[in-house]
Amino acid sequence: MNPDLTRKPKEPRRRLSWGLQWSLWVRSLSLQASWNHQRMQNLGLLWNVLPWLRRQKRHINQDRLFFRRYYGFFNTNPYLANFLIGGLVRLEEDRSAGPEIESEFIGTFRDSVGRAFASLGDQLFWLGLRPTLVMLICFSGLLGQISSIMLILGIFTVFQLVLRWLALQRGYELGMDIVDLLFDRRWHLWIARTKRAGMVLTGMVIGLYLAQITDTGVSPGRGMLWVGTGLGMGLPVILRKRLPGEVMILAALLMALVLAFAI
């Protein structure tokens, strides 16, 4: 038997039209603008996919069903959402071409893939890249490098905008197969790398800060300041409770008052 006959015939690469990709991309930047406690990003997602709907032959009942599909609870990571948006547009297109894909399937696909991307994106962006970049700009700040701070954030901005643009096309190309993307080991590799970089940078910020306060002739004296800094670093770890930064400012004020009494 010819092995080629067992293979799935390769489909030609499908591309989003430039105009549609542009509209979807611009709108995807504001996915979270209408974030609400009840259904989170549902209105944002529906608003995102409207440019595709506007380009179709319209019928009021079809539009109502379309709205219904997108008005349920939805939440995902904004930086990776475009993989899903591209995939959803592809599914809608396939559904409008033939009845093979059921309405409920699109809803299930949206929820499950959205959740998976939310989890990956939270690990990669919020717990990996963000603390790393924050520590990098703080390190530059401690060195007094203002232009470096702006440059670092500028590079990140370009990176994430390009990622969103490419993700839209990739999601559209893959359609349902974006599920395969989720199993790519490189996600976890990058999560681990960004977290490790964040840990090293956090250490670098501590090191530079301690070196700087050693040189500072502050009134409570170096010793007390070292005690205060050590206490500050230990407090969140000992408490095992993640307090908002604003509450920690008040905690720091309390510590500062105690130090002022102590000397």
Binding site: Q32, A33, L43, L46, L153, G232, M233, M248
Partner: protein, 254 residues
Amino acid sequence: MIPWVPPGLVSDPNLPALLVLGLMAGLLALDDTAFAQTWFGQPLPAAILTGYLFGDPITGLAVGLPLQLVLSGNIPVGQTFTGDPTSAAIAAVGGTLLAGRPLSPVLVADTVGTLPLLGWVILGAGLLSMLGHLLIQAERRSNGIWMLKGLHSLRDGRLGRIDSLHIRCLGTTFLRGLASGILFTLFIYGAWVPLYDHLPGLIRTSLGTLPLLLPGLGVGTLIDRYGLKSSWHWMALGMVCTFFAARYFSGVLP
């Protein structure tokens, strides 16, 4: 003259500068979660940009850096979103510079004379961020009400309603940022900074230590988030290398 401020205590604010500051606060409020999320709305870049606006980015750095460090554990994800550090950082820098009390000497002149004022301004920013949190929650509740209005489109199939509701949400975020940016700045300028001159000595001494304690607390939050067991060796590596490199170069370099 601002009506609630005793005459002669402070000068008139520069109104065009205040308006530009408000516009910037509105745009950066959008950046926080509503549009693009470039992270220029983080306290440090927001404070530096405000400093540039008033011709003193070093004051922006002095205020933004401790704020950024202590708020580094705040993650703007869905329900866990806390505070409004963007408007607070803008107001802290804008209000202080409008009041003619630059904080750049803390960093430029290598002096600790302005540290207590810096601590006072950061404390004000923290309190304003908490107040801003209430406004953000109110905005999100209004988003919820508008989202429910969109349910009408499930009956009549009108696309235009969805467009207008989403754009209304974007506009609300911008206006919230603009309003809180201006009002918070006026508060720092007209009430918070003038109040500093009437504080007792002990409080001032404590405030002088406050900015120096914040980095420790911020870094502690990150250590807790990473997990002490899995992260201590990486952190120790970065810390030891940087500490000795900094000590060495501070001795070698002029």
